[in-house]
């Protein structure tokens, strides 16, 4: 990977974040209901409304509002929540931290399950194990998180059995085991779709690689089966999977919105839903921007990692 590729890629991510901020701001500007009305209630006098509007800058042209908002964001100021009256920034980043914990746990679980499943399916291609894996992945990608979540709840959170808590969050630092216990169901739920999708990708990459000339050449050099599989096949099959996993972070973040809502997990997704229901404009904008930025950065990191790992590609 050359320096100029890195610089170019950095340019793209800045551009991407700029477009995302414009979109988030633009879409939320369309929101019905004026923020001033929200604050003061329907019965406020026109004079009071006008005063609040000018204090919030709502009477300014849209591009100027965007500029104020963006420069605030760049300085770390995401505005004040209309709902709670507190600064949005700390609220959002606290929630983001908890959500990232959830996401990281789900990604780890996914990798631990999906890679072996995909590899086994590829090795047993056309046989029962392959059929089972592909059946599981067809069903897995077809069940939305909210259905999975309720099934998981019915099976594992029955109040009579008390296997796992149905909702809530305990910081790992406070009580590690209780915290872990609370993570199980949400993590399990989000992982299903990811496992289904990634295991399919790993399978198809692995099938391709196993048919490649260089794997055949490795076999015909008399290398041991294990060496051929791990050193020659798996390495090459997992490379493209990096990109897929990064794209799946998008699904993951979407899934997080639903799962946090269902399991009452105080992450960024739940905060966003609460903000949407309360029409809390600054909180919606901040939540959406931070989520999109997280996804954008994940893809950026994956691209850089890929360019660094894959020696073939000469990015210039």
């Amino acid at each position: 990977m050359s320096l100029s590729y890195f610089i170019r890629r950095c340019g793209y991510i800045v551009f991407t974040l700029l477009v995302v901020s414009l979109l988030v701001f633009g879409i939320t500007q369309l929101l019905p209901g004026n923020a001033a009305v929200m604050l003061l209630g329907e019965n406020a006098t026109p004079e009071a409304l006008a005063a609040v509007s000018s204090r919030l800058g709502l009477d300014q042209p849209a591009w100027l509002q965007y500029w104020h908002w963006l420069s605030g964001v760049l300085a770390g100021d995401f505005g004040t929540s209309l709902r709670t009256g507190l600064p949005v920034g700390p609220m959002i980043f606290g929630a983001l931290g908890r959500s990232l914990l959830l996401a990281a746990a789900a990604l780890l679980l996914m990798l631990a399950v999906a890679v072996p499943l995909g590899v086994v399916a590829a090795l047993k291609r056309g046989r029962l194990a392959d059929l089972l894996v592909s059946l599981v992945s067809y069903v897995g990608v077809s069940v939305p998180e909210f259905v999975t979540a309720t099934i998981v709840l019915i099976l594992l959170a029955d109040p009579a059995l008390r296997l796992f808590p149905a909702s809530g969050y305990v910081p790992l630092g406070e009580d590690f085991w209780a915290g872990l216990h609370h993570l199980v169901l949400p993590v399990l739920t989000i992982s299903v779709i990811l496992v289904a999708h990634v295991s399919r990708m790993v399978r198809s990459e692995m099938v391709d690689v196993l048919h490649s000339d260089y794997v055949r050449a490795a076999r015909l050099k008399g290398l041991r089966r294990r060496t051929v599989l791990i050193r020659h096949a798996l390495r090459n099959a997992l490379l493209p999977t990096i990109t897929v996993v990064a794209l799946d972070v998008g699904y993951l973040l979407g899934g997080i919105i639903v799962v946090e809502e269902i399991f009452a997990f105080p992450g960024i997704g739940r905060q966003l839903i609460v903000a949407i229901q309360a029409r809390d404009l600054p909180a919606i904008q901040a939540g959406a921007l931070v989520m999109a930025a997280t996804y954008g950065l994940a893809n950026f990191a994956a691209d850089i990692a890929y360019a660094w790992l894959d020696k073939r590609i000469q990015y210039d």
Partner: protein, 274 residues
């Protein structure tokens, strides 16, 4: 065409997917006539029932017949998903092809913009749009259509660029054919198949997104029997009558599996070289 259909039905995915979707077509077309009860009729003496002789799939908290609700809800769930995908595919195909043809700087700018838009996770994007437009089934459809547009545009563009590099297009250019002829007669027939395949698979995703939006209260509104909404309304009763969630959950999964299988089957069947 018949040849492609025969190939589709020969592949296990294609056959199974077609069978599932044919079965699904029955409630979509004739759901309201097949339903044994009015889906909105309350039966106060028969609330939260499991499957039984009177109510085959059971009843909800108001004693409404689950089977009837599912049958009637099929239309709004499936047709909406298909319409949303069609919207996204149409918009995406236009943007992708125009960009591919224009080439050069414009193409680069359009693609960078689409990449940037795709940096917003799908559900989040749809959520924002619905929030701005207001919660309703139609707005959910529009939101999903718009969410799908950048991805479809990228695919349409890459297909168009691949086809444009083929020698039969070069041959047409060398022959002195008009732009219109080259696009419509040489390129389009070869671009359509991969886009259809992708769109089919996306219907599965649209079904899930639509149901999710309804589940979050931003899509279909009560008393609709859209399947996602049925699940949302059943949440309070999951331990008293799990069937209320199981049936619509299965229904959503079957639709999504059906479209996923059909898409994979079509991918092989529509390739003229095999």
């Amino acid at each position: 065409m018949t040849e492609a259909l025969a190939r589709l039905l020969r592949s296990p995915q294609g056959a199974l997917g077609s069978a599932l979707l044919l079965a699904l077509a029955v409630p979509v077309v004739a759901g309201p006539w097949l339903a044994p009860y009015d889906p909105e009729q309350f039966h106060f003496t028969a609330r939260l029932l499991g499957p039984g002789p009177d109510f085959w799939l059971g009843t909800d908290q108001f004693g409404r017949d689950l089977l009837s609700r599912l049958l009637v809800g099929a239309r709004s769930t499936v047709l909406m998903a298909v319409a949303a995908t069609a919207l996204g595919t149409g918009l995406g195909a236009v943007i992708g092809n125009v960009s591919a043809f224009a080439g050069g700087r414009l193409d680069e700018i359009v693609m960078r913009l689409l990449d940037a838009v795709m940096a917003i996770p799908g559900l989040l994007f749809a959520l924002l749009i619905v929030t701005a437009l207001g919660a309703s089934e139609l707005n959910a459809l529009i939101a999903i259509g718009i969410t799908f547009t950048p991805g479809m545009a990228r695919i349409a563009r890459s297909v168009a660029l691949t086809v444009r590099k083929q020698d039969y297009v070069s041959a047409a250019i060398a022959r002195g054919e008009t732009q219109g002829y080259i696009v419509l007669r040489e390129m389009l027939p070869n671009c359509v198949a991969p886009i259809i395949v992708e769109a089919t698979i996306r219907v599965a995703f649209a079904v899930m997104l639509l149901a999710t939006l309804s589940f979050l209260g931003l899509g279909a509104q009560p008393p609709s029997s859209e399947w996602g909404l049925m699940v949302a309304e059943a949440r309070q009763f999951i331990f008293r009558n799990p069937w209320m969630i199981v049936w619509p959950g299965i229904a959503i999964a079957v639709v999504a599996v059906g479209f996923n299988l059909l898409g994979d089957g079509l991918r092989d069947a529509l390739n003229p070289r095999t």
